[in-house]
Structures are given as structure tokens and as C-alpha cells.
Symmetry: C2
DNA sequence: AGGTTAATCAACCACTCGGTTGAACAACCG
DNA sequence: CGGTTGTTCAACCGAGTGGTTGATTAACCT
């Protein structure tokens, strides 16, 4: 469902230039030309980058005469952190459980095989 | 510096299959064949996916006879959350500041132009 | 040793991606 | 109105990606 969205967000941030743009937008809105200035690529390339970020829902754009100021949408970042944190926590918990098992094994060695979760 | 690493991690998680693999590994280590089972792609394709995750530092592999069990490395996820949280927080703070400015403007309308951060 | 199982390597294909150049809108300025 | 500025569209290119099939390595089992 939001699988597609998540893919787009991760994919968008996989590019260093795009991450840089996000970082700059975090300090304030900016136009395409302003955003393009620091890089030695064409403004069209940057425009494409911004499009990608927009499609991912990371930036929104308003209109000011010919200019199209870009604005960072922070909520989507939450979506990512939620995804990441979930599995980081699971892995951590599992690690802690395993740790406990090892301690128990150290106490009373030969017992039940504890856990054997197949992944089928 | 860790820019390259960050790109690899985001890029690795941009693929739904790879995110799924990470999710499954969060519940316990697994071999390539076990991980490949649920998908209708070849085991070679899954092997490649795991390679990408390994290069990103997201999984490590040990050896058990012919098998090479995959293990999720949670620390790298921290790297990502730190990056994300940093800019999310910046954007949030800026938003809050802007909010304050708007409130001040509502109080005493015609005053100083407050802030005008150009992004050059 | 011979055979089976687990995983990877190698070559290839369709497709996407980041970049380019050149043209086209779109809205301002004089 | 004509010209300039800001941005996008269109077509193209080289490199990378996810997938395939086929062969190969590595370690197990009799």
C-alpha cells in the first residue's frame, strides 16, 4: 500500500545531491535556481532532482511569479523513521532475548533447544 | 565521508524486496534459500539483493557448512535515523519559528520584515 | 570417489537513472 | 509589444539495476 511511497522516499534520498537539497531546504524554502547554484550541473538536472523529491512527497512547491519556491515536508521523514525504528527495535529485542538465552545456557547447560524460528 | 555509505543504505532500502528481507531478518537470522523461498524470483536474484544489503552494511554473514546465514546489523539503521531526524528537527524548528513570527505579526502588524533567509 | 545441496559467478537483456543539449512555456519588466 | 528570467519539456546518452539462464565453487553425505 504505502509500500510504493516508502520506496520512492528511500530512493529519492539515495542520491547525495538530493539529500543535500533536502538539507538546504531544512534551513528554509528556496527556488530551483537558488538550489541549483552550488552544483556544477545544469539547472535542468536539479529540476529533475526536485521533481523526484516532490513525487516522493518530500517537498511541495508554491508559486511566486515565475519562481517556484520549494518547501520541505517533514512529515514524510516520519514515515521513514517509523519504518526504520520498527525493525531496529525488533532486531534489538531479539538480540536481547538471545542474550538472555545465552545467559540461561551458561547457568544450566543441557536443556531445551530454546528457539528455532524457520523463515518459510 | 560516510556520504557514500549513507547513499548505499538508502539505495539498498529503496527496493521493496530488500526491505522485506530486512523485515524478515529482524525476526531472526536466515539462509539465502530460506530468504528466497517466499518470492517467485530465482535464488540468484535474492543472492544479489543480499549482496547489496551486505555492501550497505545492513547484513553480515557467517558460515555454517554450505550455508551462509544472514544477520541483520541494526547499527546502520541508526545512521539513517540520525540523518533523517536531524533535518526533520531542523524543519520542525523552522516551522515553529515561522509560526511565532506569524503570531507576532498578528499582534502588531506593520513592523520589521522579521526574517528573509536567502539560500545562495 | 560420486552425488547432492547451498550459494555464487558470468553473461546477457530490458529498463531506469542522472546527466546533457536545445527548445518551449510562463510571467515578469520596460 | 519585445526581451529577459525562471522553469520545464523532449530527446538522447552512458552507466547502473533487477531480473534471467547456465556454469561453477564449496561443503556436505554415503
Amino acid at each position: 500500500m504505502s509500500d510504493d511511497r516508502l520506496s520512492r522516499v528511500f530512493s529519492a534520498l539515495a542520491d547525495p545531491t538530493r539529500r543535500d537539497i533536502v538539507a538546504r531546504l531544512a534551513t528554509g524554502d528556496a527556488t530551483v535556481n537558488e538550489l541549483a547554484a552550488p552544483y556544477d550541473v545544469t539547472v535542468q538536472a536539479v529540476s529533475k532532482h526536485i521533481r523526484v523529491l516532490e513525487d516522493a512527497g518530500l517537498v511541495s512547491r508554491s508559486r511566486d511569479a515565475q519562481r517556484r519556491p520549494c518547501h520541505l515536508e517533514g512529515e514524510v521523514l516520519d514515515l521513514m523513521t517509523r519504518w526504520i525504528e520498527r525493525y531496529r527495535r525488533e532486531a534489538e529485542d531479539r538480540f536481547r532475548r538471545l542474550d538472555t538465552v545465552l545467559e540461561e545456557m551458561a547457568d544450566g547447560p543441557a536443556e531445551g533447544p530454546a528457539e528455532k524460528e524457520a523463515a518459510s
